[in-house]
Symmetry: C2
Amino acid sequence: MEEWDEVEVPDNVKEIFVEMKNTAELMVDLAYSAVLFREKEMAEEVLELEEYLDLLNYNLMVRAVLSARNLRDAERITSILQMGRSIDEISNAAADLAKMVIEEKLHPLINEVILESEETIGKVEVSPESILVGKTLKELDLATNTGVWVAAIRRGRRWIFDPDEDTKIMPGDIIIGRGTRTALEYLKEIAKGILKVMGNG
Amino acid sequence: MEEWDEVEVPDNVKEIFVEMKNTAELMVDLAYSAVLFREKEMAEEVLELEEYLDLLNYNLMVRAVLSARNLRDAERITSILQMGRSIDEISNAAADLAKMVIEEKLHPLINEVILESEETIGKVEVSPESILVGKTLKELDLATNTGVWVAAIRRGRRWIFDPDEDTKIMPGDIIIGRGTRTALEYLKEIAKGILKVMGNG
């Protein structure tokens, strides 16, 4: 990510707020993925996103406070600041997890805990034969069709963090996703080219 | 939930840790649901789960510290305590959200933010004609087949929080789920009885 003074912050209170919630959730997924796969570059991304989130939270606070016109307004606007703080707390927790990866002192038990949770993290490699190849994330809608939430894609030597709906899947891509073990297994079968149909289509 | 001295805490470090991660994630889903639907009973559940999580975290710390035998062990075990603290931070953020529901001073913008996030929360009512009726959550595997994560079920006047895999869906149940808007819409079609097949089956 670029320097913060070049970063575009959405300029409407709601958009800032939605961006904060999405960013914090992405950070948690990336943080657990970084811990599981000992991926320092991913951990660094989480720390950069934390700075971005702090900037968003600051902008949210300024705009929310500015919009208060009377006591009743002020009381309700306080709930916006409180929710902003909760989202910020979640992002701090993700950043603390990411720092553990950078410090390189992880206990092996941590991997087992991530792998055995109800929602876990998996790496899925896309074979050239897979029906995923050449389609955008919007067309694929993996969250609905397979139950896997895509947090990042490894393409050759580079990472695509938080891929958007226009990102096209390429042969050899490694998808980092969050879901149940069943959902991740299902996506693996599709990515290997074993299953040729997906979800309800 | 009962009094804490009657609560059973898993007695193996890994099980405690997995239970902590699952509980914190459930708390976040329930907290956002409580905020969106102004459900005080659900908010109270989040606060009770927070106490349970504190108890789990205390047990995790005691057992982890006890298991250290030398300096190298101790360094790695520190990462277990750190991850426990991160999970605890996430649960505190969820509890803060829940408290906002109890204080009844929510700004309407908060609903819009939850509804417009990438992952959102929805209420899905099950009609007697739906293929969901009479099946257990294990059989249905909604997380894989529809992309919706079930956080709670409203059955008549009572709530089932964190339903387990043996929970059977009954006609009239209201499922509180987390997923993308598309996934929630898809589950709604199935729950209404409009769609008679689901996922890859």
